[in-house]
Symmetry: C2
Subunit: 195 residues, 2 copies
């Protein structure tokens, strides 16, 4: 969401939540988002939008340029399709591997207020899923500059965030995946990427 | 997606895939969708859209009435927010409980072509997550006719599909959840619900 806003040149007033010290589970933040997760976008009228996709979609409507969800109904469908695949097959697989193995997350295998013990088999399964995910991305990028053709979109942002997150489970893009390497170099060198 | 199209009065040419006999894993369908899952929307130009959200978003753009994604940027954000919560906290929890316990799905704990063994602990965890999900829906419906206020949307469709799917894990809406009971009676009696 930070990268998304930066690509559009939107300045948002930021309030940091101290995740490392569990501020998201405190009464104050629980009142902001009962799901106890970030990010949350608060509008001037007090409306609070949670879930990254909902926030980005709202920003796209308010600040249409540059388009990050595609330029036509067909392209927008492809962007949502790829973004969904990246989230479900990539981000969550990585989260699954991380949350079920990181010592500090014992009892917090699922984000949010509920208590869920880690399942070691899930950490192993998550890593296997990440491999399949990387293969899929590499294959798709064989004849495309970005995930959905010639336009940089939210699907690329989600995928870059996923790849960056892989460092927490000590996986990096395999050397033989040249398409994915080339794409990652391109998207991570954009100025918005460091937002 | 069937219910979504029915609510809009769209007639789509249907091709059934014999999931029970594994047709989705055959070469022919793998060519249509390498992820080996339904539904897939094929456009006249041959473009294939997978992922329910992407398909419904495309249909919404092509057939705007009645609006099923909300009527304003703020409402659309709430719809996407709730639809995401329903998918992630509801549908997948139910799928998790089902796929990790159903005998016929041994080796198919995750939809798609990859082989993933069932993890019995996940089936238990899934059921616990479903309980939390139902509580969340019931609470949200306390002062709302539908999940996002006074308009029926894709978030209601996803939630209804989730609740209907609960029969596969033998969970039904608890009697004391009056809001959820009332809402379910309302949404399931719509003509589109039987599509």
């Amino acid at each position: 969401m930070r990268i998304f806003a930066a690509e559009k040149g939107i300045e948002l007033e930021k309030v940091e939540v101290d995740l490392a010290n569990g501020e998201q589970f405190g009464d104050e933040f629980r009142d902001v988002n009962p799901d106890c997760v970030v990010p949350v976008l608060e509008l001037d009228d007090g409306t609070r939008i949670t879930e990254v996709l909902a926030i980005c979609q709202y920003l796209e409507e308010r600040f249409p340029l540059p388009p990050l969800f595609g330029r036509s109904p067909e392209e927008r469908a492809m962007v949502t399709m790829w973004n969904t695949k990246v989230e479900q097959q990539g981000l969550w697989a990585i989260m699954e591997a991380f949350r079920n193995s990181a010592r500090g997350l014992s009892g917090h295998a699922i984000p949010g207020p509920g208590s869920f013990e880690q399942i070691p088999e899930l950490a192993i399964r998550g890593r296997k899923r990440v491999e399949l995910f990387l293969e899929k991305l590499d294959l798709n990028l064989d004849d495309r500059e970005f995930l959905v053709g010639d336009i940089y979109t939210i699907a690329d942002i989600s995928a870059m965030v996923a790849i960056d997150f892989m460092k927490w489970i000590k996986i990096s893009i395999p050397d033989h995946m040249a398409n994915l390497q080339r794409w990652y170099e391109s998207v991570s060198s954009r100025s918005g990427a460091s937002a």
